[in-house]
């Protein structure tokens, strides 16, 4: 027995996954090191073994070479990790919301257990829920990989054909961004359900200071949530179609929301915050939404119109 060699092999064994066959790997490394020390350094002694071991490589690197090509999740399945996590998280989010609204705990045996939480505690529960979902999907994909069979996991394959629709000048939609948006939206929704406003200073059960009167705050919070919801909806739609019409519909709905906010009768009163009056805020809110949405709408319509004209021109030339 050579303590240095056995310690080295022991350390390699910590990193070797899967464990099956590990003893054989270690026996072969042992045999090689002893052989090399005996043949190249003139004898097997602790000193010679230490020199051979130093040249063999660090235990993690040695183990890594045996695990090349041994993926926990097959490369073809990696794309499903965030996709399926996204779907699961949306379901999870809905259950959390239902638990919050019904003021009860929720159990979807054996996968989900949502304890009865307060509004703020729900917000802190969201990252935990996401990590749990990611882990659950990861375990599922791990077992699919271990099956070592060619599997086709289901995924939505919906493509809308919209009339005269140039590709929108937006970047490719990303699942992780959608998840972040949903988390953000969920958090805002949680704040709204807890405090009945999104416009306040400070957060927490104590120490919050509303910026506006409840009726005004309630109305603008709902409008803001609706605008964000429309934005997320249009982002989800981009997974299925990159049509410019998506932007048209999104901006049209945003303009509609701005219009409703503008005509809704609210009695203006001086705000408790001296620098920001309710009337100033309301006007600025509507103006920002109208200008950004109108600009987006005009740009999209211009691009669609240009495409129609170009197609018509091409058709005329072809004839």
């Amino acid at each position: 027995m050579y303590p240095n060699l056995e310690n080295y092999l022991e350390e390699i064994s910590h990193y070797l996954v899967p464990r099956k066959g590990a003893e054989d790997v270690l026996a072969e490394i042992r045999s090689h090191i002893l052989e090399k020390a005996g043949q190249e350094l003139g004898g097997i002694g602790e000193e010679n073994l230490a020199r051979v071991i130093a040249g063999y490589g660090s235990p993690p690197k040695v183990a890594e070479r045996y695990m090349e090509g041994e993926s926990l999740i097959a490369p073809t399945l990696k794309g499903y990790l965030l996709r399926y996590t996204g779907i699961l998280f949306v379901i999870h989010l809905a259950v959390i919301l239902a638990a919050f609204l019904l003021k009860t705990k929720m159990v979807l045996f054996p996968f989900l257990y949502i304890p009865r939480l307060s509004g703020v505690a729900d917000l802190f529960y969201l990252p935990t829920a996401f990590i749990y979902d990611l882990g659950l999907v990861g375990i599922f994909l791990y077992f699919v990989t271990k099956q070592a069979k060619e599997v086709h996991l289901p995924w939505f394959d919906i493509h809308f054909r919209l009339p005269d629709s140039p590709k929108a000048r937006t970047s490719e939609p990303k699942v992780y961004l959608l998840i972040l948006m949903l988390i953000g939206f969920g958090m805002l929704l949680g704040i709204y359900l807890r405090f009945e406003t999104l416009f306040m200073l400070g957060i927490g059960p104590e120490g919050t200071r509303p910026l506006f009167r409840p009726a005004v705050a309630h109305w603008y919070s709902l409008a803001l949530l609706a605008l964000i919801g429309v934005g997320i909806g249009s982002y989800i739609a981009q997974f299925f179609t990159r049509s410019e019409w998506v932007q048209v519909v999104k901006n049209a709905i945003c303009l509609l929301i701005a219009g409703i906010v503008n005509i809704y009768p609210l009695e203006w009163e001086p705000s408790r915050i001296p620098v920001l009056s309710e009337r100033t805020f309301g006007t600025a809110f509507v103006l920002v939404v109208v200008f950004t949405s109108a600009y987006g709408l005009c740009r999209s319509l211009f691009r669609i119109g240009r495409r129609i004209l170009l197609d018509a021109f091409r058709m005329t030339n072809d004839e």
């Binding site: 026996a27 072969e28 045999s31 090689h32 052989e35 043949q39 690197k61 040695v62 070479r65």
Partner: protein
């Protein structure tokens, strides 16, 4: 540019080393002996490359192994299987074909240069 060279070497070695080992295993060999054998032919092969490669070949059924005790020392001997021989022939055919293509390519580039 050393990094680029090592990347190219790794990429080009992927199939080449498998073929080389399958050819070397025409006779039964153990790992250390194979490294020495290939070194004598001018191919320096790292033990951390050879042993994992042998395991992958064995997992696919192209080589088999058995432990033997010689000179009071256990050694794991490898030998090629029938499917390994078939793979080796296919690999050699590909290698020859690639050689022909490469030869033609270099001739064409020589002509265009001159």
């Amino acid at each position: 540019m050393d990094g680029d060279n090592s990347y190219l070497e790794v990429e080009m070695n992927r199939g080449f080393l498998q073929l080389l080992v399958l050819m070397a295993l025409e006779q039964r060999m153990y790992g250390y002996g194979m490294i020495k054998h290939l070194l004598a032919l001018g191919c320096s092969l790292d033990e951390n490359t050879l042993y994992p490669l042998l395991r992958r070949l064995e997992k696919n059924g192209w080589v088999q192994s058995e432990w033997e005790i010689r000179s009071d020392r256990p050694r794991k001997f490898y030998f090629i299987t029938a499917s390994g021989k078939a793979l080796r022939e296919q690999g050699l055919a590909i290698w020859r074909q690639q050689n022909v293509i490469m030869q033609k390519m270099t001739e064409v580039s020589h002509v265009s240069e001159s």
